[in-house]
């Protein structure tokens, strides 16, 4: 019903509806800021626009809408991922106005950049073409560099932004190189067409190099090992809401690119038993194993909580990369579901860090000593987020990891054993990760802090944390809330 109304408003442009709204917001924001200096108005305007986009996306998702306009395809997959990106954007904006780290003087530019970055993500999610994906990714990346740099008074931020921009630029070059080689071989930039061409093609080492270039290029974006070096510096240097945006939003976009490009391409190749498919799967498996292991092991040594969360985020990307090795519909569904749960648990953890920074607390894990006495709700929420990240039932992280690791063991009735070792590595890693998550819990609950003064945090933070908390519990106990859409999204990749 609602979807029909949306269609009657947007007409042919319905597939672009959410993008149009976010785009309008991005373009209008610098202007709005000029009229009067009230950043709260800017904030409220953005929030409403995002909320509208979210509602539209949700309606289209529930309705099962699929459509195409000028090569932009809106499917179950795009609407689901779109929802994810919009949720991240919503939470980031919700807390930004009351965070001390985001510069209010540039509210218009700041929100505009956030919307621009999200527009890129939305664009990526509905692309089926290497070039449009590239454009979307770049839109997000360039906005992100600026977002990191916007925290101007902090030297760490400038350094991080420069690092981010240089490494990002390099990864862009690599990706473009890979794409151009692939175009040279196949004569197309459309993923389905490339797959069809490669299926009947005697693979040369050129295709291999093209693949490796693209994997490395996008590997930088998702901070897969060994392309992860920038991530901890950037997450540490950026304002915490921005760190959250990058860790939950832009990283998911990178993973989405992998799914859209490689999963689609390689599943097509698997049918023709192309040797390239298997080799790439093994490559992904190795990257996944290294990503989670390095992420988790290095996280143990961190004393700064933002860096610890950054490394844990690297590890989580490693878990999700399992699906690229496994390459089954179940795996894709489990991966997308894990992306969702990750948004809430990692987002929640970053939000708490951000909220505590606003309250004057430091970023060191040792600053969290005795937090349970000072802010019982925040400490309890943090504990739940961290336990969820570690995969302890009945929280969302456990359920999504359960589906994820299960998909590595095999399809029902066909535990083929190829990727069981990967599941083993992942489960072992889960156990390692518990160690550093538990350390924060220990600091909050068991060690005594210097003061017992109560901490007050801004209301928007409280609201955002509460949203995350609700979903971390609900998705753990009742994953069917969105898991059905995750399963259905696989078909959307091939429309």
């Amino acid at each position: 019903m609602v979807a029909e109304i949306i269609e009657s408003i947007f007409g042919d442009l319905t597939p672009l509806a959410t993008m149009i709204i976010i785009g309008i917001a991005a373009l209008a924001l610098p202007g709005i800021q000029m009229f009067g200096k009230r950043h709260t108005a800017t904030w409220a305007f953005t929030l409403i626009m995002v909320l509208v986009a979210m509602i539209i996306d949700m309606c289209l998702l529930v309705d099962g809408y699929a459509g195409e306009y000028m090569g932009v395809r809106f499917t179950g997959y795009s609407s689901l991922l779109g929802l994810l990106f919009l949720i991240v954007l919503f939470m980031t904006i919700l807390v930004s106005n009351s965070s001390v780290e985001t510069t209010r003087n540039h509210a218009g530019a700041y929100y505009s950049l956030l919307c621009g970055a999200s527009l890129g993500m939305l664009f990526v999610a509905s692309s089926t073409n290497l070039l449009t994906i590239f454009v979307g990714v770049e839109l997000t990346s360039i906005s992100s560099y600026a977002l990191v740099a916007l925290k101007r008074k902090d030297g760490r931020a400038s350094e991080a932004a420069v690092k981010y921009a240089i490494i990002g630029g390099m990864s862009t070059a690599l990706t473009l190189y890979g794409i151009s080689m692939l175009y040279g071989i196949t004569g197309s930039v459309d993923i389905a067409e490339i797959a069809a061409f490669l299926a009947g093609y005697d693979v040369t080492w050129m295709v291999g190099i093209a693949f490796i270039c693209m994997i490395a290029g996008y590997g930088f974006k998702i901070a897969a090992v060994p392309f992860h070096m920038w991530a901890p510096d950037v997450y540490e240097g950026a304002a915490t809401p921005v760190s959250m945006f990058l860790a939950t939003g832009s990283k998911k976009m990178g993973l989405s690119v992998f799914i859209q490009v490689f999963m689609v391409m390689l599943i097509a190749l698997t049918v023709s038993e192309n040797v390239l498919a298997e080799a790439t799967q093994y490559l992904f498996a190795i990257i996944a194993a290294f990503t989670m292991t390095v992420g988790n092991v290095v996280a143990i040594a961190q004393t700064n909580i933002k860096r610890m969360l950054a490394y844990s985020s690297i590890a989580q990307a490693g878990y999700i990369m399992i699906i690229l090795a496994v390459m089954t519909p179940q795996a894709e569904a489990a991966g997308v579901f894990h992306m969702f749960t990750h948004v809430f648990m990692k987002g929640g953890a970053f939000l708490i860090v951000g909220a505590l920074i606003c309250a004057g607390l430091g970023e060191k894990i040792s600053d969290y000593k005795g937090l349970a006495k000072r802010a019982p709700f925040l400490a309890a929420a943090m504990m739940l987020f961290l336990f969820s990240l570690a995969g302890i039932p009945p929280l969302a992280g456990f359920t999504s990891k359960f589906f994820l690791f299960a998909s590595a063991i095999g399809e029902p009735g066909a535990a083929n054993g190829t990727w069981v070792w990967l599941a083993f590595v992942a489960i072992l890693n889960s156990a390692i990760s518990l160690y550093y998550y538990a350390r924060v819990v220990k600091a909050m609950y068991i060690e005594k802090g210097a003061t017992t003064e109560k901490i007050k945090i801004p209301k928007p933070f409280l609201a955002a944390i509460l949203i995350c908390l609700v979903f971390v519990i609900v998705l753990g106990v009742y994953p069917d809330l969105i898991f059905g859409y995750c399963e259905a999204s696989f078909a959307g990749l091939f429309i």
């Binding site: 302890i392 359960f402 066909a414 518990l434 220990k442 068991i446 069917d480």
Partner: protein, 496 residues
């Protein structure tokens, strides 16, 4: 709905006592007692068939259903679990009563943790779906972690982390086994039904090699929990540092999760694999029995000694299971129950030693019987029950298991193995009697100041008295418990 109620009532208790912060802190303990009492009453009524035959009371709802999985919220009780349910409900109430004499900082958290643990424990014993089973298994872990690290002894942080990591890693290995079981039990393309029934029905078609591999994974997970040598090292540390209440629940019911899992999952669902690994199980059991008992002799801390004795006694349970015979498993289950009652007494007594005398170091103690006669009486009952004195419950746990093992020895013509049984009995009697002689009797110690030592308090007395009565009752009339176990083992024998 009675089975769900058994989980929900303590859950409400946990939440309520958690909320009793600040000025209402003292109320928390009464809330906990009230809710655990209701739970116990329900458990008893359930046992005696007030809600109909408990074996017919299963509950099952589809919880998560998608292309890959069907996960159920399924609860069921049978002869194997009913005693554990009763034991859990009983010990939680007694622990709550026992702790009334003591005042702690943040009482409300303490009782909330106990009640949360009860939720998990009852959940484990009643779950009839692997997913639910695993969740409940993990639910027990977190309250215990906090129990040790908030309310424990001086080295509590170390012990709590060690406990957490050991058991969590073990449960992750178990999780892999559970995954594999699920996948092996369905035909290609079907969704995996995680309920006990469905998995058991489907798994028989898998090859023996795969089954034994899965068995090994699951067995490892359970064995760490029991715990068996060489994965026992977390237990003495956890026990030494945990508060008395934590130790009681840890040894009384939490260790039983391990042996329960072995019977319920490893033996019941994978009987062929169990036969395949039989010798390994028996070897591990014997090593645990002897090593645990031997370790006891070396301990100077009374509580640590009891902790080591748990390793030995749980080894006895594993020995019974390893026989894979009717008598072996029946009395292994009985031993689980008996050990639950006895060890609760043991830890209460040892915990009191620390509080009332000031130290638990055996070499510093001596002649306590004169100054604290009631305490000494309970300690003697507990020790005698644990070493297997006829007429007390421990006797029916240990000796029939050894008899069952004897049958196994005869059948396999390995008479020399009898040596181990004799050795274990001798060691057990030895360390208990020696410990008693050094702490209770002889001249009163002059190494510590006994002037402030006081005898058992009212509430402690009540808890210990109830346990003593039960220890004697089931010792004289073991059939009161065996009547529940036997129908289950009869059914199980049909499968094996």
């Amino acid at each position: 709905m009675i089975l769900s109620a058994l989980i929900i009532v303590p859950l409400i208790g946990a939440i309520l006592s958690l909320l009793m912060g600040g000025s209402r802190e003292k109320l928390a303990k009464y809330v906990a007692i009230a809710f655990s009492a209701i739970t116990l009453v329900m458990a008893v009524l359930l046992t005696f068939g007030m809600f109909g035959d408990f074996a017919d009371l299963s509950e099952s709802f589809v919880w998560i259903s998608n292309d890959a999985f069907v996960i159920n919220y399924a609860l069921a009780v049978d002869g194997l679990s009913i005693l554990m349910v009763f034991l859990t409900a009983l010990l939680v109430l007694l622990v709550n009563i026992f702790s009334l004499d003591e005042h702690r900082e943040n009482n409300n958290y303490f009782y909330a943790l106990i009640m949360a643990m009860e939720v998990g424990l009852l959940g484990v014993y009643m779950a009839a779906d692997y997913f639910l089973f695993y969740i409940m298994w993990e639910v027990t872990l977190i309250p215990m972690y906090f129990m040790i690290s908030w309310y424990g002894g001086p080295r509590r942080h170390y012990s709590a982390i060690k406990f957490f990591i050991y058991t969590h890693v073990a449960s992750l290995v178990m999780l892999i086994g559970i995954f594999a079981m699920g996948y092996m039990s369905v035909a290609p393309g079907e969704a995996v039904d995680m309920s006990f029934e469905a998995v058991k029905a489907g798994i028989g078609s898998a090859s023996l090699g795969l089954q034994s591999l899965v068995f090994a994974l699951l067995f490892f997970g359970f064995m760490v929990k029991m715990p068996s040598v060489p994965f026992h090292t977390w237990l003495p540390d956890a026990h030494t540092e945990a508060p008395t209440e934590g130790s009681v629940l840890l040894a009384g019911v939490m260790l039983k999760m391990g042996s329960y899992g072995i019977i319920r999952i490893c033996v019941e669902a994978l009987p062929d694999a169990a036969a395949y690994w039989q010798w390994v199980i028996i070897a591990i059991a014997i090593i645990s029995i002897i090593y645990g008992a031997y370790g006891c002799i070396a301990q100077t801390d009374l509580k640590k000694m009891v902790a080591f004795s748990s390793i030995s006694h749980m080894g006895m349970v594993m020995l019974g299971i390893g026989c894979l015979s009717d008598a072996g498993i029946t009395f292994a289950v009985f031993q689980m129950f008996a050990h639950g009652l006895i060890t609760a007494m043991l830890f209460m007594v040892c915990g009191m030693t620390g509080h009332k005398v000031g130290t638990r170091e055996i070499p510093l103690l001596g002649g306590l019987a004169g100054r604290m006669p009631v305490y000494a009486t309970f300690m003697m009952i507990a020790f005698m029950a644990s070493l297997g004195l006829p007429g007390l419950v421990g006797f029916w746990g240990e000796f029939p298991v050894i008899m069952a093992f004897y049958e196994f020895i005869l059948a396999n013509d390995v008479l020399w193995m009898l040596l181990f049984c004799m050795l274990s009995l001798m060691l057990t009697a030895g360390y208990y009697l020696w410990a008693m002689q050094r702490t209770l009797f002889g001249p009163e110690t002059t190494k510590i100041d006994l002037s402030k030592a006081h005898d058992v308090g009212h509430f402690e007395f009540a808890a210990l008295l109830i346990l003593s009565i039960l220890v004697a009752f089931f010792g004289v009339w073991p059939d009161a418990a065996l009547q529940f176990i036997e129908p289950y083992t009869d059914l199980l024998m049909g499968v094996i």
